[in-house]
Every structure is written in C-alpha cells, then in structure tokens.
C-alpha cells in the first residue's frame, strides 16, 4: 500500500494529462487546473530544496563542522536576499539592482573561468584521448570553426570559399540531429516507463 500509492498517483496523473492533451476540447479546462497544481507543487519543491540547504548549513554552524565559516556566508547572503525580497518586493528596482550587482559579476566571472580552463582542455584532449575518428574529426572541426570565427577565410572574398564554408557549416546539423533523435527516443522510453510504473524517479 505504501509503495503502491505513489505509483498509482504517478500513473493516474500522467494518464490524465495525456488524455487532457489528446482530448483538449473536452478536458482542456481540467488540464489547465492540474498543470496549475503542478506549478504550485513544483514551486513548493524548490522551496523545500532551499529549506533543506539552509537547514544543513544551520546545522553546520551549530555543530561547528569543518568549513562552517562558509555556512555563515551562505546563510547571511541568503537571509539578506530573502528578507530584502519579501520586505521591498521582488519588483522593487533598487532591490533588483542590488541582486543583479552581486549575481551578475559572479556568474559572468564563473563562465569566464570556463574559457581559461578550456585552454588546457584543448591541449590535453589529444594526449588523453589519442587518435580516433572521433578526436580527429573533433580537432579538424574545432580548427575550422575557429578559423571561420576569426574571419580570416571571409577576408579572402573568394566565392568558392564562401560556398564551401556554407556546406561545412551544415555538417554539425547531421550529428546534432542524430543526437536530438537519440535523446528524444531515450526521453520517450523513460516517460513510458514512468507512466507504466516500472520507473520510479520519486522513490530515489
């Protein structure tokens, strides 16, 4: 019973949404209602995840666990951000400006750091992976697209080169389509398994 209830809930809710999508003229309003519930529950799940994070760090401080100083940092920044949002309102321009002034440089710098780390990845990719059709085509493709991005080939202004560039630019489409179809097949299979109750991501 304990096990069966979540499975039944997953199957029934999934089948209802599927039915609502197929028979939308009849079930559309109720589909909107169920999806509205999902929005609320999903948002609550986010809140629970955040609460769990905060509880963990609060415990770290109380038990003086190793690295609890970082827990103080996270709790202080979380508290200021949350209280500011609830007090001033999340649409308040001054509040948004403050949040943006902290979050933007951090996120942009982290992404910038990726560029710095990728330089060493570029050197090591062949040393670690060796030569194979995958690595060779990867290297040639990377060099070609770098040259295009540099704009060196375009400056030659030769029409044939432009045609060749146009064709080669199409090539990633093939692999990307294969990847998309592969991922889609995997997603469909997983969804069917969830709807049949043989896959239970909620039990983990």
């Amino acid at each position: 019973m304990k096990k069966g209830l979540p499975i039944a809930v997953a199957i029934l809710s999934g089948l209802f949404v599927l039915a609502g999508l197929i028979f939308q003229p009849y079930l559309g309003p109720y589909l909107g209602l169920v999806l509205n519930w999902a929005v609320i529950v999903g948002s609550m799940a986010l809140l629970v995840a955040i609460a769990s994070l905060i509880i963990y760090h609060a415990r770290s401080i109380l038990t003086a666990r190793k690295g609890f100083i970082f827990s103080i940092v996270i709790l202080a920044s979380f508290g200021l951000s949350l209280v500011g949002g609830l007090w001033l309102g999340v649409d308040n321009p001054a509040y948004l400006k403050w949040v943006g002034a902290i979050q933007r440089p951090l996120e942009v710098s982290l992404l910038g750091l990726v560029a710095l780390i990728m330089t060493s990845a570029a050197v090591q990719v062949f040393r670690n992976r060796g030569w194979s059709p995958l690595t060779v085509s990867f290297g040639l493709s990377a060099i070609f697209f770098l040259l295009i991005a540099l704009g060196l080939l375009q400056t030659l202004e030769v029409p044939q080169i432009a045609t060749v560039i146009g064709y080669i630019r199409q090539l990633p489409l093939v692999g990307a389509r294969g990847l998309l179809i592969g991922v889609a097949i995997g997603a469909v299979m997983m969804a069917i398994r969830v709807l049949l109750g043989s896959e239970r991501p909620y039990s983990d």
């Binding site: 710095l116 493709s141 909620y202």
Partner: protein, 223 residues
C-alpha cells in the same frame, strides 16, 4: 558616479577577483564568492516563488472559503504539506506522493511534447530531403540534393548507431560493417562536438572579455 553605484561597483570588482583567484587553485576567496552566489540566488528565488506563486496561487484562494477557487486550492495545499514533511527524515516518505504527481505530469508532457516537437519533425525533416519536389528540378535530377539527402540520412543513422551501440561495438566488436558504421557515426559526432566546443569557448570568452572590460572601465572611471 553615485555612492550606491560606487559601492556596487566595488562589490562587483571584489567578487570578480575572488572568482578569478581560482586560477591559483581552489582557495578561500573563491569559495566565499561561490557561497555568496548560492546564498543570494537561493534567497532571491525563494522570495520570487513565495511572492509570485505561493501567495497568489495558494494563500489568497484559501482566504476565501466557500468559493470554487478555495476548494481547488485544497489539493495543492495537501500536496505541498506532504512535500514539506520531507524536511523531517522520519516523515520523508510522505513526500513521495507529490513527487510522484510531478513525475507523472512531467512524463506525460515529455511523452507528448518530445514525440511531437522533436522526434517526429526531425525524422520527417530527414526523410523530407528525398521528396520529389526537392530531388527533381525542371525534370532533371538534382544530384546535389540527392547527395545532401543521402549524406544527412547516413550521418543521422550512423550517429544514432554510435550513440546507442557504442558499448556493444567496443566490447563485442561488430565486424567490418558495424565498425564502419560506428566510425562514420564518430566522425559526424566529432564534427558536432567540435562545433559545440568552439561555441562554448566563444560564449565563455565573450563573458571573460566583458567582465575584464567592465573591471577596466570601472577602474578607469575611478581614476
């Protein structure tokens, strides 16, 4: 420059340096920067969810008993309460029900959306390359179109083959045909990965240059 802008600018410069200090290795400043980001992002997200979702969609309807909106809000209220019980280790099992609800809904949306939005259109687009309208031009065979169509079809099949059977090929060995197919798939995958790698690098490079440029501009404005 106002004092607020000055303060925000100084905070931004300090945080930028903290993050870039990672080049020297994982250190205290980098970690502090990271935890500040997590804390601010979590706090802001929580504030948005509370003010934009929980209050208007759950709390407000429950303040008007007897209305249809009140009764409709009882279901998510129960599910949210069960979800909140997950915070207690002893009662965490109760959270399975709302999670199962979300999983079921998401699975249905994925099944319907993926098949209609990716699987069918992409397969049709691959096969559509062989439509007579494209292959015949003025009662002449369009050989460029034929070659392009064959190349794309072969590439997609080989990529899919490599994507799904790479382990089998690696372990068992598949004979010359399967190995050949796998190699073709690897080539197309490699080309796509190369393009993705350069795309990611360029995006990261733009972010890096923008941030360096912003720091430079800020310091210049102070001098």
């Amino acid at each position: 420059m106002s004092s607020v802008d000055l303060a925000l600018g100084l905070v931004g410069v300090a945080l930028t340096i903290m993050i870039f200090s990672y080049i020297l290795g994982d250190n205290l400043f980098f970690r502090v920067g990271l935890y500040v980001l997590i804390g601010v992002a979590a706090g802001f997200s929580a504030a948005v969810v509370i003010t934009k979702v929980i209050i208007p969609l759950l709390y407000v309807p429950l303040r008007t008993p007897g209305t249809p909106a009140f009764y409709w809000a009882l279901v998510p209220l129960v599910l949210c309460a069960l979800l909140a019980l997950m915070l207690s280790p002893r009662l965490s099992q109760a959270g399975k029900i709302p999670l199962a609800f979300l999983s079921g809904v998401l699975a249905a949306l994925a099944l319907f959306g993926v098949s209609r939005g990716t699987l069918a259109p992409q397969l049709l687009a691959t096969i559509g390359r062989f439509s007579p309208a494209l292959l015949m031009q003025a009662s002449q065979i369009n050989w460029a179109g034929v070659i392009e169509g064959v190349l794309i079809l072969l590439g997609v099949i080989a990529t899919l083959f490599f994507f799904h059977h790479r382990q089998q090929v690696k372990q068992v060995g598949g004979g010359s045909l399967l190995d050949g197919m796998s190699s073709v798939g690897q080539i197309f995958m490699g080309i796509t990965f190369g393009a993705l790698f350069i795309g990611l690098y360029m995006t990261a490079l733009v972010a890096l240059i923008s941030q360096l440029n912003w720091v430079k501009d800020f310091i210049t404005s102070l001098l």
